[in-house]
Amino acid sequence: MSAKGGGVQYSKIAEIKGPLVVVDDVENAAFDELVEVETKDGERRLGKVLEVGNGKAIVQVFEGTTGLSISGTNAKFVGKVMEMPVSREVLGRVFDGLGRPKDGLPDPIADKFVDINGEPMNPEQREYPKDFIQTGVSVIDGLMTLVRGQKLPIFSGSGMSHNLLAAQIARQASVVGTDDDFAVVFAAIGVQYSEAEYFRRSLEESGALKRSVLFLNTADDPAIERIITPRVALTVAEYLAFELGIHVLVVITDMTNYAEALREISAAREEVPGRKGYPGYLYTDLSTLYERAGKLNGKKGSVTQVPILSMPSDDITHPIPDLTGYITEGQIVVGRDLFRQGVYPPINILMSLSRLMKDGIGEGSTREDHSEISNQVYDAYSRAQEVRALAGIVGKAGLTEIDLRYLELGDTFEKEFLSQATDENRTIEETLTLMWKIVSKLPKNEITKIKDRYVEQYYKEE
């Protein structure tokens, strides 16, 4: 889309309201058109048209309106929507939240310029996701397996170790059993400077930066930029996936900061607020991002999304996790209790689920016993939790022999399977072996969810 007559600069600013600038006497502006706002001092800031009509245009300024005044500010309507220059060369690069280089290197030589709002995927063209992605994190690979083209969010809380986990996934993720190219697009939204540095260093030092693209919007960057960050990241991911045939994992942290920025704009536009002040279209807006994950018929690559969001007050019914959960295909929940116990990654498996896991595991993908051993581990850990609760009331002395076995299984599960070093990359074979070690804490007659032939093959009573 391009506006007729692009490139005209208007100097009649009617109003500046929060992150918005209202420009008067505007002709031929288009919705979503890119605008260059020039301050009195000649500083240039980017924005986009939110509304046009009656000779006025409402412009959302990404870099904030601090320092702008009605007189002396000019708005140049560029005549095109915001575009991201894309090419294979973006791999290994670090950009800011608006897609400008942040690594001291020049702009990438673009193969093409792509509208950051993306093209909606034709549902007819979508291919059902069914290929395994190994993250190297046992609890994810073993119990809530990620598949290519899936969107699987991580629900966390403030102060918990979700960013460590995000970086670990970005460093370690790979596709196994194929020579296909794999890349990671990492978008940090509103993170602290130290976290942004950690992400960058961690990818650099592990050698994973070579196959990654980083978009870093730090907490002190203007909040409005956060609206753009996931969009530029997904635009690059789509290009890499569908034009270059690469399997791309997009890790976005933290989507809560994105929703906060959306709320800020909505409040400035005086829109009727929805739940907790978020705009009524939060669901629609989130879906425009999450639905950019997938696989297309006839295309080699895929876009897999792992958005991370911190739940305010650990409230899973908060609008952001609630609406995210409607759109995505399962969730990984980071548990406060496990975090307090010092377990890393503190994933509460009983609240977590990957809805597409069943199609991405088993013979030919991971191993033939994966589905059954996973069900058995879920079942056993769930029973272990019940026994723990019971032991809290009656004491260990009041437990039966089998209850004690479950209790021991729960401890082993958390210490040996769930707990993992941040630089420990476990293969799926290692993960499955550990799962059998957990299950082997139980007598054979307690193993009810696994076929006998697998029990004979893998069970090793201790």
């Binding site: 007559g5 692009g6 490139g7 008067d24 090419s87 290197l105 030589i109 673009a110 592990s206 994973a208």
Partner: protein, 198 residues
Amino acid sequence: MTNPALEQTIDKILNQTEEGILSNIKSALNDSYQTLDDAVPRLEQEYDKILADGKKEADKIEKQIIGSSDLEARNKQLMALEQSVDRVFSQALDQIAETDRSGNYSDLIKSLLDESTKILGTSEVVVFTNSKDRDAVQSALPNYPGSELSPKTIDCLGGVRIQSKDGTMTFDNTIDARIERLKPLIRKEIAAKFGVTN
């Protein structure tokens, strides 16, 4: 005086003790062999694990080294390319600045004015240009009723910048602005000439 019965008893006890000790030694030896045999697979497992861990660590380090040196090389190449592109740009700009203003140049000015007034939607405009292009612009202005040439000159390579008479709308159609708008595409073309394609 010896007591044969006592000596016999002592011999018997000695023999029994000796047998007991020998049997214990033998059983200890067997136990040791057994322990040793049992330890072998565990040792082999440990050995394999240490080797596997070592290999994993070595792979990790290899990836790190290769990854960072690849990136370093690529970044140096990018910087070198950018410098070359900049050099081409600045030479091209120098040549444009020295363009001969005679011949078809007035057609270029006319087309820039046509485009600019069309975009602003009016010909009642003030036109700004540099000192070199003043004559060409002045001679083209009669075709645009209501337009006037600003006495102020602007610093640019060539072309025009027009402003509505109330000063609220401006359109920059200088050669500098056009180059700036097309710069990403021009960079791509220059890079392609250097043999860099994506």
